[in-house]
């Protein structure tokens, strides 16, 4: 069962918004609704978030992402559609029922931290527990625990004004953790921070996530952040979700020109991983095979080197074409394994970290999984071609993209759509 499940979620601001829902179903566009004095902030959003997943909603300001996240915990009531938390429909809950969901299931981290300036850090972290009526001793203990998790041990007695921006957001994070809910909503949680601090916070979030295994719905307008954090990413534009997929999918198979244009500037080497670009290890020779077998394989696959693996598919070495040719000529039975060590990398290693190996040797990189088993290889050519933008339609025929005009291709800020 998905932790968060949205189907056909729509939010329209204005008088008698149901009119807008009807118009949208008849196929009207945003401009038509705006003429009626209605502002559709989110249109027909459908997605689900699995437990333990970091799901990022990515879009520019005015794309409706803030409205979307506020419908998850009922801060905004959807005009149409259904939102389910752990299978429970929260769209039609009473005020008390909604409070119960917020207290026990969904917590939230805010862009500008939203701390209580007149309360200490410890009291801020304990705030959700106080609302719930947890005893003072217990909530202090749990707040202290949460503060320690985010690296603020011993800061409980300070006031938020004595903390830097990054530390304040850690308090915001600790507050959400202290609430002890399985689902965390993060609304542009790191957007107000300096780039360096932001990176630090992202690392910390990933670290925490590895430990705590929360379900996180993360909102951002920063694509690099989305790609770093997201197990899956939903791209939003003008209130609609235009694509949902892993960062590799978004990068390599953009669903629309808009997404393609958006991801064009992404540093692919940091997003793509070894596992995403590796090729199937077809050209591999067993360590007990002879030079003739190796030579045959090389001719078949048109490669100049072969990885040598043992029975357990561990990489033991590499043989080069000229050594194999020599061995065949000399009639040797032993495979002339090179002294050179083969670089072994984890499938999750970002591309950026692979270049050092590629620069050091002509040999392909071996991508090894658990227990050192060979999962794939990355020849140097593959590494380079992974950097180029995928040959989608828009990339192949820029003229077509141009003909559509900037309205479709460019990420345009939409002031009227902003809340």
């Amino acid at each position: 069962m998905p932790a968060i499940e949205a189907s056909g979620l729509t939010k329209i601001f204005g008088r008698r918004p149901q009119r807008g829902v009807r118009l949208l179903k008849e196929g009207a566009d945003r401009a038509r609704l705006r003429k009626e004095g209605l502002t559709p902030a989110v249109i027909d959003a459908t997605f689900d978030v699995a437990p333990g997943e970091i799901f990022v909603v990515m879009g520019l300001s005015g794309s409706g992402k803030s409205t979307l996240i506020r419908m998850v915990n009922g801060l905004l009531e959807p005009t149409d559609g259904v939102m389910r938390i752990d299978g429970q429909d929260v769209t039609h809950l009473s005020a008390a029922g909604l409070r119960e969901v917020r207290r026990t299931k969904v917590s939230m981290v805010f862009q500008h931290f939203a701390l209580l300036p007149h309360r200490t850090v410890g009291e801020n972290a304990a705030y959700p527990l106080k609302l719930r009526g947890v005893s003072k001793a217990e909530r202090e203990a749990r707040a202290e625990e949460a503060l320690a998790l985010v690296g603020l041990k011993g800061w409980g007695g300070s006031l938020p004004s004595e903390l830097s921006g990054g530390m304040r957001q850690r308090v915001g994070l600790a507050r959400a953790l202290a609430a002890g809910t399985d689902i965390m909503l993060m609304d542009e949680a790191f957007s107000a921070l300096d780039p360096l601090i932001r990176k630090e916070m992202q690392d910390q979030l990933l670290e925490l996530q590895a430990k705590l295994d929360k379900t996180i719905l993360f909102i951002t307008h920063d694509l690099n952040e989305a790609m770093r954090l997201g197990d899956r990413i939903a791209m939003m534009r003008d209130g609609r979700i235009v694509q949902v997929g892993t960062s590799e999918q978004i990068l390599n198979e953009p669903a629309t020109d808009y997404v393609a244009q958006f991801v064009a500037d992404v540093d692919r080497t940091r997003v793509l991983t070894a596992g995403a670009v590796m090729e199937r290890p077809v050209a591999v020779v067993g360590s007990e095979s002879g030079p003739k077998a190796a030579h045959k394989l090389m001719r078949e696959h048109q490669v100049s080197s072969l990885l040598v693996t043992g029975r357990d598919r561990r990489v033991t070495g590499i043989v080069w074409e000229h050594d194999v040719a020599d061995a065949v000529r000399q009639g040797s039975d032993r495979l002339p394994v090179s002294d050179e060590t083969v670089a072994r990398v984890d499938p999750d290693t970002p591309l950026a970290e692979l270049f050092q190996y590629a620069a050091a040797s002509k040999a392909p990189l071996a991508v090894v999984g658990e227990q050192g088993r060979l999962e794939g290889v990355i020849p140097r050519v593959t590494l380079l071609s992974a950097l180029s933008v995928p040959s989608t339609d828009s990339a192949l025929s820029p003229a077509d993209g141009e003909a559509d005009g900037p309205a479709d291709g460019e990420p345009v800020l939409d002031p009227a759509g902003a809340k």
């Binding site: 801060l75 409070r99 939230m108 500008h112 300036p117 007149h118 609302l131 507050r175 609430a179």
Partner: protein, 302 residues
């Protein structure tokens, strides 16, 4: 008068108002008497309390309060100012006026703050309340005096009542503003963690809006003081009476002394209430607290 081609009929607004006042007087007489008795008792007991100890002791208490909430400089001002009131022989009327102001302010705030909170939470309430406040604030103050005299007769009660009406509006307006201007994300945080409306009001909106609410309290006190003097016209006693009698006898000396006593009281009340809203950090309370924190930090570092 020049003859007019079109005769606009006279709408008897004044007569309606007079009839309304008469009707209230007729039907709610016992209620009005009760209110009157209560107001008189409240004001009298406070002014008796202020006048019970020797003046110098009360002066010392005022000075101490000034030191506690604000600074040494203000404490010196309070001491000199209140001693001057005593030396001018204005102590008794000044304390009567202070009692009237305190009671009127208290009642005004008991009405203004809840109404302000309601107005902040509901646009409808806000839309209804705003013209009423405009009416209360802009209607010339003397006009209130006539109906309240009909209701309560001559004395302290009509004075308090007119003062409440006159001083109330900024209390409502600034409370509404205070709550509306609290950072919406912080309020949202309260909601997102499952806070009830009351919890959010108590824990977030009131504390974060406090400086603005205190600015409202300050304004209420200032207006109450200015009206308390006007209330001297209906026999409310205190400095108002001093000023009124100085006008009727064209006594410049008496008028100036009474007026100066009002000014001193006004400055004192203004500084004390604004210091409570926005602490300066130089008050005795603040100094003691920062010393204690420093001591605690030193202990912690050992």
């Amino acid at each position: 008068m020049t003859p007019m081609p079109l005769v606009i009929p006279n709408v008897p607004v004044g007569d309606v108002a007079a009839d309304g006042v008469a009707w209230i007087k007729l039907n709610f007489d016992s209620l009005l008497d009760g209110i009157s008795a209560m107001l008189v008792t409240l004001v009298d007991s406070i002014s008796d309390l202020l006048l019970l100890p020797p003046p110098l002791m009360v002066v010392a208490l005022f000075t101490l309060l000034a030191l506690l909430v604000r600074s040494w400089g203000f404490a010196v001002f309070s001491l000199v100012g209140t001693l001057l009131i005593v030396s001018m022989g204005m102590w008794e009327p000044a304390m009567e006026t202070l009692a009237l102001v305190l009671i009127a302010t208290l009642i005004a705030l008991l009405i203004a703050i809840p109404v302000g909170i309601l107005a902040a939470r509901s646009d409808t309430v806000s839309a209804v309340v705003r013209p009423i406040l405009d009416f209360m604030q802009t209607m010339p103050a003397f006009v209130y005096l006539v109906p309240v005299v009909i209701f309560f007769g001559i004395g302290v009660a009509p004075g308090v009542c007119a003062t409440i009406i006159f001083a109330l509006p900024p209390g409502v307006r600034l409370t509404e503003l205070a709550i509306r201007q609290v950072d919406s994300e912080t309020v949202e945080a309260g909601e997102a963690f499952g806070g009830t409306g009351w919890q959010i009001l108590r824990g977030i909106q009131l504390p974060l809006g406090l400086p603005t609410i205190m600015a409202g309290v300050n304004q209420v006190i200032m207006l109450a003081l200015s009206m308390a003097v006007v209330a001297g016209l209906v026999g409310a006693g205190g400095l108002g009476q001093v000023v009124v009698s100085s006008i009727s006898t064209v006594n410049v000396a008496l008028g100036f002394e009474g007026g100066l006593a009002v000014v001193i009281l006004a400055i004192y009340l203004d500084r004390v209430t604004s210091a409570i809203g926005q602490p300066t950090g130089r008050s005795l309370v603040a100094v003691l607290r920062s010393r204690r924190d420093a001591g605690r930090a030193a202990m912690a570092s050992i």
